[in-house]
């Protein structure tokens, strides 16, 4: 049940990232989408993958995105 819910959220989250047009919002939506994937990996009993996904999708990648966005706006 939890797995099905999270899978559904992942299916909703991916188009949400693609359909967000503003880059800054997209960075946030993408981070949330990554977080849903992290929860899905936890629910699928893959905590190591979840931790790697967590640090990449919620720390490293948003940082690079935010710097690039800030650069393109200054």
């Amino acid at each position: 049940m939890i797995q099905a819910t999270l899978l559904a959220l992942v299916a909703l989250g991916a188009p949400a990232v693609v359909l967000t047009r503003d880059p800054l919002r997209m960075a946030v939506v993408n981070g949330l989408y990554g977080l849903v994937l992290v929860l899905l990996f936890v629910a699928l009993a893959a905590p190591d993958v979840a931790l790697s996904m967590l640090v990449v999708s919620c720390i490293a990648y948003p940082l690079v995105l935010l710097i690039a966005i800030s650069r393109s706006r200054s």
Binding site: P47, D48, L51, V55, V56, I59, L63, I67
Partner: protein, 242 residues
């Protein structure tokens, strides 16, 4: 290109990829029905032969420690490339600090980095007991330091995020990994053989020299991420503003 032409290219590609995806997923083994031999072997040997209760890290830092060294040097080379491109000779430091005025943000900025760094160290330290390890812990530590920049401003952060601290740390992480490998060579065994004794399974003293490799990777990954941050921030944010 018109919207119509783009759709005409996109639609067949979408159908093709969707068909491939469905075909591939339908052919996967059922969930929990792993077919390869190695996972079962690793699961059977990690506790008796390596005294490590996290099979993933026993694989990463011991059974295939050499591959991990390659991965570490991929990161090292990538960061070196960024540094070569972005670290100019006549760099101008920021003249004025970008002061963060909100008290709430500053208070969070004083507390949050400590919490995130602590979590990162914990994830790295317990890599051979529970899920985690040097890579994940290292990125989290770097993330904690990055919060300093966001909440306390450039000047507070640049005390930590500067090359005179980070470059030696990155070298220490990357070189330390090789030194542990060479230590095995020096004692007459193959490169990266686990020579320091395996310790007690389920404790922080498990894993032997793989634990040292884990910490070397943690230092390397944390420093590499912070160097990337430093270069991007100084190149694009601070310079662009001053």
């Amino acid at each position: 290109m018109s919207r119509r032409a783009r759709l005409a290219i996109f639609a067949p590609a979408l159908v093709g990829f969707a068909a491939l995806l469905v075909w591939g997923v339908a052919g996967l083994p059922h969930f929990g029905h792993y077919r390869g031999p190695y996972g079962h072997v690793v699961n059977r040997i990690v506790i008796p032969e390596r005294h490590v209760s996290n099979a993933v890290n026993a694989t990463t830092y011991d059974i295939r420690g050499f591959d991990t060294m390659g991965e570490e040097f991929i990161l090292f080379a990538a960061v070196t490339g960024v540094v070569l491109l972005l670290r100019g000779s006549g760099r101008t430091r920021a003249e004025k600090d970008d002061v963060v005025r909100s008290d709430v943000v500053r208070a969070a900025g004083a507390v949050a980095p400590a919490v995130v760094v602590l979590v990162g160290l914990w994830v790295a330290a317990f890599g051979f007991v529970t899920p985690g390890g040097g890579f994940q812990g290292g990125v989290a530590v770097a993330g904690g330091a990055a919060v300093l920049f966001v909440t306390l401003g450039y000047r507070a952060w640049s005390r930590l995020g500067n090359e005179s601290i980070l470059d030696p740390l990155e070298g220490l992480g990357a070189g330390g990994y090789v030194v542990v490998g060479v230590a095995a060579l020096a004692s007459g065994l193959p490169f990266l053989t686990n020579i320091f004794g395996f310790g007690v399974a389920g404790t922080l003293r498990s894993g032997g020299s793989a634990e040292l490799l884990n910490w070397a990777a943690a230092i390397e990954v944390a420093a590499a991420n912070l160097i990337l941050m430093t270069e991007f921030v100084e190149q694009y944010l601070v310079r662009g503003r001053s």
